[in-house]
Amino acid sequence: MRRRAGETAINALREEEAAGEPDYIPGSAEDFERLYRCSYRRILVTLIGMLGDPAAAEDCTQEAFVRAFRAWDRWKPGAPAEAWLHRIAINVGVSHWRRQRLREAGELVKRLGRPAAPASPATIAENTELGRALRKIPAKQAAALVLRHYHGYTNREIGEALGVPERTVASRLAAAKARLRVELADWVE
């Protein structure tokens, strides 16, 4: 289920729970599978927005769920499970982004020699102006942007999910937008 712009993710999750969605039990394999089905796409979208590379985003999503599964018995039911997952996924994404930057030159050479892939929603996301611009900004800024402007988290919710102060989220968003304004100057006009 995709959210309308402006609707907060956490409120929506609370609505789902109020509508009869049972709570998750830490350590329960069945509950984790349910959480996986409910949140896989949203985590994937966040990572595509962060990394701009759909294949890498899928790998990072899987890695994030594997890490989450290993820590599932330590999850505290008081915290929204999807926000907890986002925190793990963004850490995985940031690690990948740093490694990716280190081998950027090698990646460029590979891309030049790669045959054209058939168009898919993911490659469309990768090949738009905004998709390309998101790849040029730091991963944490891109993550904040997607969480705020796609998933509809508030700054406070993003801060709670990522374990950073609200003002840090605000400064990341401001920096991301300033950079995007430069990168998308032609597109905005």
Partner: protein, 161 residues
Amino acid sequence: MSDFDREIESELSRILGPVDRASIPAWRAPASGGAMRRLFGGAGAALGAKLLTGFAVAALAAAGAGVASEVAVTGSLNPNDWGQQVVQQVNTCKDTLRASGVRGIGQCVSAFAKQHGKLVSDEHRASNSRDNGNHGKNNNKGSNNGQAGEHGKPSNLPHQP
């Protein structure tokens, strides 16, 4: 919310919306086992097997070298000849040591005995396997010491023919 923010939201919805409706791959819980599994599984297991193979080959080569050097020292595969050879070997060694200012023949006897003891041990081991038909299970444990002098820990003393 500024126009720019709205533009970003609209564009994010447009480009990420199709991804949000993509199919979800089946979840398969990772196998448990943690650090030990990582250590003994996959590349760790392959590396361990290589190391074990390396040690086995090195041990085999060392054993072969021991037998070869014994044959080289005594010039014979027959253990009965080695006792006769030891006097000559020790005398030669003693002369060499004296020339370099070292007194005593302990080192010379020890060097020869070490080689010889190893071969005798191998002989006992082979003998046990043949006589007992237990395929060597009983060797090197010291539990059969004293049985007709054929078993037990090999002596470091020179062989008495």
